[in-house]
Symmetry: C2
Subunit: 578 residues, 2 copies
């Protein structure tokens, strides 16, 4: 159990100094929006997060949702918190104005979302996945579907879910078996879906399920999957929830973490078929999934940042308070004075700062419509941030010593909650394959070369700083070089069908640490400029210099090891004998 | 839930090819013992482990011990399993013959212990800690204490516990407050101890607590701590448990893992004082703790190996059975065919093999009385093996995808259980400080130089193999060089009081990966020689070549990153601003 306070100063720094928020708003034609307003919004969100949503984090961990007579009954308190979230207008920040949204830039929505995710990962998963459902309908739904569903989904009055996975079809959606039979103006859906997050609850009047299923004449494999809207309650002529649809949660999973989030086995059509409505064209379901994947995957990357930040705050508080060293005069001092505890705390601090810089940079590229860069950064945000989150939440426990292993301390919850992040919305392996394949090999490495060029220019500038940053710049330059070499290795070895899959995770991690180092170096340059100009909070700016130095000296060297592993290629993996 | 089968072939290979078990037995004057007998012993232990102890692993995870009227009631089934373990004579393998022990070499006891720890970490903790209590009394107790307690502790009829930690005294034992007041032929102990593993249970007639406490006139700090034997039941004139002593478990911790192991808050002297008997001399308790520390710490390192092996076996089985890829003809294949899944499995396989090689090598140095090498390897075994175990049990979940996050799958238990290993018996930070300070700086780096010289000779020989091992040898040579540089850096920077603590964990991890690579390279040379001579199981030997190649290519490069971090020194840590 710990308090949570949103690190507003760091979010503001990234928005202003790395993203260039004011310029972005102007370029989007949103002249009435600026950094000052963003800070007001973040401050308000921070209050709701700290005061209302964060205190429920431990509650949800202990009091799991249960499957009762009404269906899934969520943890006590969650419904009131959801009402407060919805009534505050937080559900609709970035959605389409035509349907009641506030049309704020994605990067600001992302910065706000960090707060909900830090406050309560299990709770905040509900709107995070609802966003995917909203996007599916917004981009691909008919006008009727939009009119019927979007306003209440965007306001948050109804939540949305994504129903993809089946017992035999996880990563491999080609194996989807759920059927959709035409029946007049709708379809009858029959089948079972698993791992459906927030698949049922009592917080809202309706739940809108987006379901992948096959039409009777559909081709085999992924080219025969269609997307359907299946509401929990069918709508009456006035558009209000009325008759119960044939879609039910039939059991809940017992999970390692995110206990407050009900993970449902959903059964469609136990009583004849659930009424569903086709989204867009038949057999294009998979393509529609891909259009929303960047958002969803960046969202999970953001969860990695959020849970790391929460874990860090708790560990820092403990390290400041826990007396465990004894001086020669018998007086005691807190463990934060031990160099190795400081090292762990700095790894957490600089790591979360690098994550935040990367998450918001990638989110802003969505606003800019810089599609190639979005495509490239998304698997890095999802893959690298969530992998690093495992290490940081691990350190959060480690700093607590034996107390960290005791559940009441609360640090273990962050560690358990974080564990899902490298799995759902595509495992780390899937992100890495996406990066090396679809995002690099397919375009001959062009997009990656452009990124490397941009990083190179900043690294050259960073190398001019000298002084305390001499070694940091040397490490970052080596990492940049490793990035170039990894890219070239991949292109040169594309003839070996096993090489991409064998090196992919190390390739992705290399670019993660390189991007983190790059953005921390940029941060150091901006902070130094601020200090030189006597602008901003000097204490914050000075801490940023330290944090950037630490990240480049202590985390960026991992790129060297990644490159060496990549160079080993596929031989020992191909010949593996188990 | 998964079956466990002891990897006998690998244990035999390490005992024969790396440890030289027959020669060791001869040098110990145990001519009646040899590798063949060791295999018989391991096979029998494997049966008990697989058939009786392993099936209780999941049971203990779900059915925690409870504090009832009798005290702590352990998980159902544990008592019967303990009886089988004790009656099989497994408790006394390595103990002193004078008190009923079997006097087997420590390395064989360690190889057998791997089985209990893999089968059920929570269960096997009980005898593991009892071993520390036995050693304390064996090395430092009076003849009377030995006669009264050792025979039944060694046979396993009574268990033993270690009572060090207090709420304000974890790593910092200087703060121990528990009091011991002289009272005739004994002492009255008063105080509270926390985190006492298996502090109470109903499996045996008595429990012998070893307790750190202060005498009234004791000096402040660590020089005023004495060690006492405090039995749960006082002994009558015939040496049998009789009157209940004033030592009770007053509550149980709710932990992240090892649920089957009761972690007790022990209260001594709530009713006037617990009867205790001084071990050795007054005020020497801390020194006595140190004498048993190598065993205990190597034991926890071994737990890291054991839980990784268990996690690997489960992941491998899943990867072979889980169909998730679809070929173009629509047929499906298991996930073990995906290169990244193979990479993760090889990381687990080669990692556990390197751990086993290191654990048994270090255990044999105890038999050889090679004290300097024991002192040097112990923090590496404890620190590096348990840290690597975090990553391997993490991968065990990852290979399962979404199923890994579901508790019923069982993979998450290994991950949760493993989490304590980098904390208890001295955190990773403590191990690392021990390695750089007491084990290196204190002797001017001599012992480390000797180890590096020995590794160097083997690496030079390994480099002659060429062929598939060319890159592996190159990586290992670089790691050896990194080891030399790290040692020199440490010695050169010993003037900076913060440098050792700032670099210690990276220093320890560097030597862990180097030692792992060294022993895997040795293994490859022995396996190649066996293959060339047409000896042994060619399939096993060939798999060992692959595993050694993988380890050197994929894990040894991390030493480069460790060295780079070491070279950054203490500056960014000293100047950290939180």
């Amino acid at each position: 159990m710990s308090d949570y306070r949103h690190p507003l100063a760091d979010a503001e720094f990234v928005l202003n100094e790395l993203v260039g928020f004011d310029d972005l708003c102007e370029s989007l034609g949103q002249e009435d929006l600026n950094a000052e307003m963003a800070s007001v919004i973040l401050t308000e969100a921070g209050k709701l997060g700290s005061d209302v949503i964060a205190p429920l984090n431990t509650v949800g961990d202990h009091q799991h949702p249960v499957l009762g007579e009404l269906g899934v009954e969520e943890t006590a308190g969650f419904s009131d918190a959801y009402q407060a979230y919805m009534e505050g207008g937080w559900a609709s920040l970035t959605s389409d104005e035509a349907f009641g949204g506030q049309n704020l830039p994605n990067v600001l929505g992302t910065a706000v979302n960090e707060i909900w995710q830090s406050a309560n990962l299990a709770f905040a998963l509900c709107p995070l996945l609802g966003q995917g459902a909203i996007e599916s309908i917004t981009h691909h739904g008919s006008d009727a579907l939009k009119q019927n569903y979007l306003p209440k989904m965007i306001s948050g009055e109804w939540t949305g879910t994504m129903n993809l996975t089946e017992p035999d079809a996880g990563t491999d959606l080609a194996a989807v078996k759920t059927r959709a039979i035409p029946n007049g103006d709708h379809y009858l859906i029959t089948g079972q879906k698993i791992f459906i997050t927030w698949g049922d609850h009592q917080m809202t009047e309706n739940i809108v399920h987006l379901v992948l299923a096959r039409l009777p004449d559909a081709p085999a494999g992924v080219k025969g999957i269609s997307l359907f809207v299946v509401p929990k309650f069918k709508l009456d002529a006035a558009g209000n929830p009325a008759e119960r649809n044939d879609a039910h949660c039939v059991s809940l999973e017992h999970k390692l973490g995110i206990h407050g989030s009900p993970t449902c086995v959903m059964s469609f059509g136990d009583n004849g078929g659930a009424e569903g409505y086709l989204v867009g064209e038949a057999n294009k379901g998979l393509a529609y999934m891909f259009t929303m994947m960047n958002h969803a995957r960046q969202g999970v990357g953001l969860q990695g940042l959020a849970v790391s930040e929460r874990s860090y705050q708790q560990a820092l508080e403990y390290a400041r308070e826990r007396l465990q060293g004894t001086r020669k005069d018998g007086s005691r001092f807190p463990i934060i004075e031990f160099p190795d505890v400081r090292r762990m705390l700095m790894q957490m601090k600089s790591g979360t700062e690098a994550m935040r810089a990367l998450c918001l940079t990638a989110a802003a590229e969505i606003d800019r419509g810089n599609q190639a860069r979005v495509e490239l950064l998304t698997p890095i945000v999802k893959g690298w941030v969530t992998e690093l989150a495992q290490e940081l939440t691990y350190l959060g426990i480690q700093i607590h010593g034996g107390m960290g292993f005791i559940e009441e301390t609360g640090s273990a919850q962050h560690y358990r909650d974080a564990r899902i992040l490298t799995i759902y919305e595509g495992t780390t392996g899937i992100q890495a394959l996406d990066l090396v394949g679809r995002k690099t090999l397919v375009n001959g490495g062009t997009h990656l070369a452009e990124l490397l060029e941009e990083i190179g220019a900043d690294v050259a500038e960073f190398s001019q700083l000298g002084g305390r940053f001499s070694l940091a710049a040397q490490r970052l330059t080596a990492a940049l070089d490793a990035g170039h070499q990894a890219r070239e290795w991949l292109l040169e070895n594309s003839g070996d069908p096993l090489s991409a899959g064998s090196v992919s995770v190390n390739f992705m991690m290399l670019f993660g640490y390189l991007c983190g180092g790059w953005l921390m170096a940029k941060s150091a340059m901006r902070a130094q400029a601020k200090l030189d100009a006597g602008e901003g909070d000097p204490e914050y700016m000075s801490a940023k210099l330290n944090s950037a130095q630490f990240f480049c000296e202590q985390l960026v060297p991992r790129t060297t090891a990644c490159l060496q592993v990549i160079e080993a290629g596929s031989e020992a993996i191909r010949d593996a004998q188990f």
